[in-house]
Symmetry: C2
């Protein structure tokens, strides 16, 4: 859980980072910003800020913001019925962004969250500079982290089913409780 104050500050800071990245947002867009702590109650360490630009039954587009050294926990998008699972394309907009996917251990610029080695099993590092993109086929395990400058990125995908996402960390709950 996070406090209302913490939530509001995170949202405001994320909107500022999006503006600094040169992205024009309408008032309607700005109201869609949210923050997720994955039930771990340590938003700025493991968490993410999300602005869903559009989401239909077939396709979605989001802006994701990571604060400096913030980490999005390892997860994957499993198949559901006839759907092989969410396919995701990441496009880096600004800042320092490291993605971790299946492959040889090349972890160098990022770091494993303290004491959570079992929760971050992918160690193949992809360093995404502004304008770089990465296609994550359905089912690909991934986690990502910002460097010291934080990071702003687009995430485009097939149908979103957040509640079905699977996380390596058994303590994760895909819900952010905001307390007064």
């Amino acid at each position: 859980m996070i406090t209302k104050k913490e939530f509001n500050e995170a949202c405001a800071e994320a909107l500022q980072m999006i503006a600094d990245a040169g992205i024009v947002l309408t008032l309607e867009d700005r109201e869609k910003i949210t923050a997720a702590d994955f039930g771990l109650s340590n938003l700025r360490k493991e968490g993410i800020q999300i602005l869903t630009m559009f989401e239909t039954d077939r396709i979605a587009g989001k802006i994701l913001v990571l604060f400096p050294n913030q980490t999005e926990p390892e997860h994957w998008h499993p198949p559901v019925g006839n759907d092989p699972g969410k396919e995701e394309i990441i496009r880096a907009i600004s800042g320092d962004l490291y993605f971790y996917i299946p492959g040889e251990d090349t972890l160098d610029k990022g770091f494993i969250v303290d004491g959570k080695s079992d929760c971050y099993t992918m160690r193949h590092e992809v360093d995404l500079k502004p304008g770089d993109q990465l296609v994550l086929p359905s089912g690909t395990k991934h986690w990502f982290q910002a460097g010291p400058a934080g990071a702003v990125m687009y995430s485009f995908s097939t149908k979103v089913r957040d509640t079905l996402d699977q996380f390596t960390d058994p303590n994760i709950i895909r819900e952010t409780k905001i307390v007064a």
Copy 2:
């Protein structure tokens, strides 16, 4: 058909408009820019410049550029087998952009291409300012036009099948011949 010179100039100008809109492109991205005249041989009147950022079997993301007063001809994305047809989301980035979709005739800021009234049958105008977006459900007839400043926009969609797109203008060929 358009000349190689005309094609190259259009591509260079479109890349400049994308850069002016604040979008960072990698060298690899820049090489993907192209121009389409729809076989009408009058690119700057009826045509468009396209940079495909990504295209998989399920999802695609493009940057579309219209020069001042340039018009993308009326078309729709028909169903194919189990696919109800391409669903498209437009997000305006910069410039003046007018979309025409089914609905009451509100055409005001844009214009019908000279002598081609039969080829532009949708007259419901949606004025998209930077940051505005428009969802085009499968099968929706649409055409669009830039105002005096030109326009840069994102187009995100489900699977692209350009060769199956249908156009109101019977003279259109979905192929751009480039001649020396």
